[in-house]
């Protein structure tokens, strides 16, 4: 019980610190590294919530593959330093808007009369979030969303190739 609380607060501090690092660091490369720390903390939180398969997928797919893609693009484009906040009204509106949103969300969460929200949830068996259980759900009850997701991945891959390929003529007319 105590260990669970310690782990929660460590992971929560890591997640919030990583998120703040993404927003506040000026170099995009360091923002990507902060996001990796954030994702690893989130995987720990998922483990606390008994979602073992999602935690593993988070580490392998997100912190592994997607972040490598980001690092490649940052290295290709080159880290463009920028001032955080920026000039103009937008830079000042951002934090104010986020604060208002946070207050509203906290009122909605804490003020909602959901009885289960203040409990630890029902007791679940050992294999609650195991790959077997999730895979059975994916292939039986959620087969259509599963296939739609695979089709979406295919469309996105084709779209990325079309977007990023070298096109003759276009570059010359601009450059």
């Amino acid at each position: 019980m105590l260990l669970e609380q310690v782990l929660f607060f460590v992971a929560a501090a890591g997640a919030i610190g990583g998120a703040l690092g993404v927003v506040l660091l000026r170099n995009p490369f360091f923002s990507v590294l902060a996001l990796v720390a954030h994702l690893i903390s989130l995987a720990l939180l998922f483990l606390l919530l008994r979602a073992e398969f999602i935690a593993a997928a988070q580490l392998v797919v997100y912190a592994g593959a997607v972040m490598v893609l980001y690092v490649f693009v940052v290295a290709y484009v080159g880290g463009v330093e920028e001032t955080v906040g920026g000039e103009g009204a937008i830079g000042r509106v951002g934090p104010v808007f986020a604060g208002a949103l946070l207050v509203e969300l906290c009122i909605a969460i804490i003020g909602s009369a959901l009885p289960a929200i203040d409990s630890r949830g029902p007791h679940v068996a050992a294999g609650f979030g195991s790959p077997g259980a999730i895979g059975k759900l994916l292939l039986e009850k959620f087969l259509i969303p599963f296939e739609a997701a695979s089709f979406l991945l295919l469309v996105a891959a084709v779209g990325a190739v079309v977007l990023a390929r070298r096109r003759r003529g276009l570059e010359d007319s601009v450059g």
Binding site: F8, A12, A15, I16, A19, V22, V23, P28, V32, L39, L42, L45, F46, L48, L49, R50, A51, F53, I54, A57, Q58, V61, Y62, A65, V66, Y70, V73, V77, V80, E82, V84, G85, G86, I90, G94, P95, F97, A98, G99, L101, L102, I109, I110, A116, I117, S119, R120, G121, P122, V124, I134, P145, A149, L153, A156, L163, A164, E171, V174, G175
Partner: protein, 99 residues
């Protein structure tokens, strides 16, 4: 830990991401902040799934991860295309479609 702790944490992460989307101007960092918001949504989905003792929220989180991967791929393709055409990597400067 009660589920409300996880939900408040996910609200924090979502708001930090929203502030980043509004305040930052580099499209790469805006994509990273979108990832933050999607992950906050994932955390809320999984904590609701634990709260109800129901695995289906975890399936939704998995689908959200797939959608996030697609969004990253298309967004990074756009950024590479912008770089190839020597457009400035600043969302305030790319204003061709602004009314």
């Amino acid at each position: 830990m009660n589920a409300v702790w996880f939900l408040v944490l996910s609200a924090f992460i979502f708001c930090i991401g929203a502030a980043g989307v509004i305040a930052r101007r580099n499209p790469l960092v805006i994509l990273l902040c979108l990832e933050l918001m999607l992950n906050a949504g994932n955390l809320a989905l999984i904590s609701f799934s634990r709260m109800l003792g129901n695995r289906e929220g975890q399936v939704f989180a998995l689908i959200v991860m797939v959608v996030a991967a697609c969004e990253v791929v298309v967004g990074l393709g756009l950024i590479v295309a912008m770089y190839r055409r020597r457009l400035p990597l600043d969302v305030d400067e790319v204003r061709e479609l602004r009314g």
